[in-house]
Symmetry: C2
Subunit: 420 residues, 2 copies
């Protein structure tokens, strides 16, 4: 078989110009989250297939890269199903591995535990522009903090990071799963249709309230219930203070702490944010993952079509590993989308070092070469980036290439000149 | 199936204390190699199975994590061999992906191209202390530089990095594949036994010259040839200038540029090194990979048992992808061993930020909470790391944990005090 130059379908080689931006963004992320007390951790890219297919990952579980058993454990002849031949897979997100990590290492971790994890995940999705089968995620999570101090800190840390990267005018939208359920119950939807109702509600942004109405009716839901439900949303659209309106409407259907909590998060973030953005209550925000148990939130940036990160509270996932529930709350930033916007907008990494190229004629060696290298070593020690290279036959083309890489100063060394 | 808290066999969770050291080391590596003009790149973790099993990887090809085909391409019922059910695998090193990357993107890369790649690789080896099935490699490579300027720059960059990490008194050993072959030919070994002879020679460090003699004879090689071969090594042990000795002995059997090149590398590195280390000629150095075509080298650090990185010239691998050979030369640093030595020696990351913890009594909310968070935001802006957390019931234990994380300053906020 011939060797194949192309990366495997749906994955990509990262060129130096993009890599510079990625490294810079990761640096800003680590520094900013660090100031909020988040500590970096890492988990293996490979997880047991049992952990990856336990319904924590929703539809992502259909997209797993599965890894073949090895050695005696593999018996292809008798294999009937995929489960017979695989024992592990590549992680499709960072949340399941993180919760496993916390469950495994809690005794050695402080409480609350504030984790930052940046790493690749893999999903065998249909490739399309800007969507790859290997991509980087960047999550912060807090374990052991039941109060909404967790949400406030997560939102502040994430928005501070975005601000430092030059984004502005964005919006953080927040809602609560328990509120979603209370609104559905208030309207008369039975429990078992809630998830289906929320899937439709989630499209409000795209299809409008009329589209939502149409789809709910098409799904066979009672017209009266649908009308009562959407009337709530229509009224909310007219109210100045949506939280207060719902406090009145849903009285008795919802623990008062839910709406009080939302109000406190919104007000605290508004009062202490470190850059310009809107913090808004969005009663139609759904977020797909079924593991959320309380608050949910996401970020919308005008430069992006849709959301650029989000998260929520998931107080029951640790219990699935350990039997003991631990409050947990996270925020994932849309790393690849940020990189795409910065790359396409011609973003230049600040504070690049001074860059010099030494071009040495072929044949310069011995003592003369030593002197040139020693000079380069001196300049490097002083902080200059120095490329030492042989002069190519087409020197003009070589210099052009190097200029494109940011080299602005050149020194040339010839055999003859050095002999003198 | 119950969820499993443990990482998958042979892989590990990285705790915050180790992660701090890893992040620091990666920072030093990127900064130092950057000064030498190496640019960061990245390749997917997954490669096509054809590229991974094309005999570039030697024994590592037996250790590949193979990935199951997906969708219609997978036909388990008719599958007889592994090749029928897999289409890709996890990379076992960074060299094969890098050469594919260079072959794929050369038109967009400068010449010479100096690449830095830091990333995980996977090998299904028997786990043992300090050896994991997922581990990080850190390689620098130069494409398009036929002269030994490549080797000089690679060795200087690598040793400068080690020096900045506090290592000293180490040794860089260098040899050349062509010299190894000339010495074997000089002694009378036919071409077809050279690889087997080198496998034995490679054990010189462990079993001594007598051990090598014994094994070569046991392998059925002629006593006379073995004696002539080992006599060369015995004499080399007594010579002050081994290179000069071999220039005399091997005259006519080896292109003179090989030994001249080695001498030039050794002398240039000695003259321009930026920290204390020995640069020595080691005619018994073999290095396992069959793709090397010229110089080979490795680093030995007294704190480690064996080698802590190495590399060499491999001028023929690009040709396997593109049909056109391009000079290539690389140096891989033993990242995980460096981390292990630093971790075990109690290494402390320098220049950590000032760390403060604000502990807030349960029930403090509203305006009072806003004021505390605003104060934290101010301190963060000035560069202090501030953890804002609820006070646990056992405050003393919580503070003890935080002290272990490096928090030395505490501020406590109570409901009552704030009301005044």
């Amino acid at each position: 078989m011939a060797l194949n130059k192309k990366p495997i379908r749906g994955m990509k080689d990262i060129l130096p110009s993009e890599m510079q931006i990625r490294d810079y963004v990761i640096g800003v992320i680590k520094d900013t989250y660090g100031k909020f007390g988040f500590t970096s951790i890492d988990t293996p890219s490979v997880e047991s297939i049992a952990n990856l297919t336990n319904k924590q990952g929703g539809d992502n579980e259909k997209l797993i890269y599965k890894i073949l058993k090895r050695g005696e454990k593999l018996n292809l002849a008798d294999a009937a199903r995929e489960e017979d031949v695989v024992d592990s897979g590549l992680r499709y997100d960072l949340t399941v591995p993180l919760v496993r990590y916390y469950s495994n290492n809690a005794a050695q971790l402080p409480s609350p535990f504030k984790a930052l994890q940046i790493g690749n995940v893999w999903r065998a999705e249909q490739p399309q522009k800007g969507r790859y089968r290997q991509f980087m995620q960047c999550d912060i999570d807090i374990f052991g903090e039941p109060s909404n101090l967790a949400e406030i800190e997560l939102i502040l840390a994430t928005t501070t990071t975005l601000g430092r990267l030059g984004f502005k005018g964005f919006e953080v939208r927040i809602n609560d799963r328990r509120l979603l359920k209370a609104m559905a119950a208030y309207s008369g939807f039975p429990d078992e249709v809630h998830d289906s109702v929320f899937i439709t509600l989630d499209k409000m942004d795209k299809i409008g309230i009329e589209g939502v109405e149409e789809e709910l009716l098409k799904n066979g839901l009672e017209r009266e219930t649908v009308e009562k439900y959407l009337e709530l949303y229509r009224k909310l659209g007219q109210e100045q203070d949506g939280v207060a309106y719902l406090e009145r409407e849903l009285e008795g259907l919802l623990d008062t702490s839910v709406l009080e909590g939302l109000r406190e998060i919104i007000e605290s973030v508004r009062a202490t944010r470190s850059c310009e953005f809107e913090m808004v209550f969005d009663p139609a925000l759904v977020r797909g993952m079924s593991y959320y148990t309380g608050t949910i939130y996401e970020i919308a940036i005008p430069e992006f079509g849709g959301s650029c990160g989000g998260g929520g509270r998931y107080d029951r996932m640790v219990g699935k590993f350990t039997g003991n529930e631990v409050p947990a709350c996270g925020f994932s930033i849309g790393f690849e989308r940020i990189i795409m916007v910065l790359t396409e907008s011609g973003f230049q990494v600040p504070d690049k070092p001074r860059k010099k190229a030494y071009l040495i004629e072929k044949g310069v060696g011995g003592q003369a070469l030593c002197e040139i290298i020693a000079k380069a070593q001196e300049a490097r020690k002083e902080g200059t980036q120095v490329l030492v290279a042989r002069m190519n036959k087409n020197k003009k083309f070589q210099k052009g290439q190097l200029q494109a890489e940011g080299y602005e100063e050149f020194e040339e060394f010839y055999k003859e000149a050095l002999k003198n």
